[in-house]
Amino acid sequence: MLLDVMQAGGGFILLEGNIISGEDVHVLGFESPETQVCAGLDSSSVQRLHFHKGFPDPLGWTCRSSFTVERFTSQHITQLIKDTQHAQASVLVVDSLSMVLRHHDPVVFCQTLQELRNGGVIKTIIGLLHSDLHQQGIVGIVCHLAGTVISVAPADNERLSVAKTTRRTKSGKVMQEEEYFSVSEDAALSVQAKPRQPGHVQRERDVSEADPTSNLTFNLRLSEDERKAKEKVALPFVFSQQKKSALLRPTPGSGRIVYEPDANDDFDEEDPDDDLDV
């Protein structure tokens, strides 16, 4: 069960990838109209896309919307999905979760998401969350619940935006990626590799690795003959291999003192001054 949360300052979700893979997509649109989201999709894809209108009346004040924010509970949503013909392999897209979070208790909201995830009716939930509209704690708990988090921000270059993806697998592996993308007029997404940044840290590191022996007035390098002669020099404590291994053999006690008793150590208990004539 995947839960994608996109943090964005703005922008809308592109659904083409999901529809092409043959899944049913249910969109709960609270923030953008249907025409904007479905623009650019061909007719067969539109059939698999079920848009539940929440915009422009997400709270149901003028009774013009089919799905209001209060109805974001697991029973209602499961019912909504089961009402359509095929109720398998559904993807639920919520635009946006911020709207729902403002009118529901965060604890209840997270429990709803968990119930939807484990319900079996929905395979994937993709939600858009505006991170600047909530407190840090709330953004933290929703991201903690999510299996994949994509953070979108404008890059230094105005034309491109950067998307940082963090994916968590069941086994505990975490994968992170950073991609640059741009959205064109007809809602086509083009992902690019990281653009080269002018005059940055990598250049400086190259400079410091220049060979220091190059521009000197004296010679610090060795020619081939000199290197051979250097290796032939006999080092003072270089022994043959047998002597080395004999010295290296582990002795039973390192630091053992070998001492032969001296003449002065011959101590007689009964004659300490050694002057008795016995």
């Binding site: 704690g137 708990i141 975490v174 410091s208 007035t217």
Partner: protein, 397 residues
Amino acid sequence: MAAPVRGMAGSPSIGNTTSFQKKTRSKLVSIPGTRPSVQNGQLLVSSGVSSLDYVIGGGLAVGTLLLVEEDCYDSYSRMLLKYFLAEGVVCGHELFLASARDHPDEIMQELPSPIVDDVAGMKISEGQSQPSDPENPDTMKIAWRYQNQPRVQTALASSVRFGHYYDVSKTMEPELRQAAKCHSFYQLQETPVTTGSSPLPSPYHALLKSIQTVIRKEGFDGSTPQSKVRNVLRLGLHSLGSVLWGDDVCCKVNPAHCHALTTFLYALRGLLRTSLSVAMVTVPSHLIQNRAIMGRIIRLSDTAIALESFRGSEKETNPLYKDYHGLLHVCQLPRLNCLSSEVPDTKDLAFKLKRKQFTIERLHLPPDLSETVSRVSKAELAAGCGSTAMGNKHLDF
């Protein structure tokens, strides 16, 4: 601590200067998978990771609570929980697993499989001398007398074989897993109970009731006379305090139920002290907004460790940390029936999850052998105090 003697065997004094004898071992129950502590005579169980046992003073004392502060993505704390449960399965203890996010059965299926052959024996001999042979590329040319000296022993391990080793790449066999009795509590499946007078919100109350029922029914607190061999109950509680447990301590600075988790831990510790059980609780401390609540949670548990993973942080590219997966902080160690506790001699601990071992090592700075370090600084100095401001690198004498 005026607790019944069963869980913790008290001994009056262990100091060398007194002539008191330590209480005889006959008071301690002999349960498989446990051993008495050499420091204060408590009954210890292994946490599943032998390096962690060494760091927290030999093992987890029966009747205590181990708090693990989770890392950001909950990968290593979950691994520690699985090690804890796997150790319980291998030693034949009973298990109790509670989780709100993933079903306990899923966690049980991911337990690592134990390594049967004696890995600990091999590890101890690794540090000793290796016979030198001429083809060995490690033979040194000039300092050859130091060839056979043991390398710096950074891995922390005690010499006594207490815990087991696990292979993370394989999961435990179902027969072995089913041989152990496991009680589970899955938050999502519990029907909410109306708690009129309880200070705890509903999920914690239900969890506490469930633990109490298990302890009483299976006789871990001595209430029912057990005819069979006494056993230890291992409780694993995953991600307490997270939103899925119905607690809002993670989303607000002033949560509505700010005493919920602390009350639960207090009651849990009371249950643990009066029974033969050990609990391991993981808490997503990075989400808890109010540091005072986190401090209370640490004080209410006995042993507290925090995992800090390098994944996703700027420390990942730091060359100092390139061999490790994260840092381990020991926040608190218990003083059980004694005045002082044994602390590990170093606070800089780093962990690494290898396939066959979760090692916790002393983080030490490697010798600074890089040649560019001193060269760069000398070049900058020369440019600074030299007369040529054009950056001419000629060293002219």
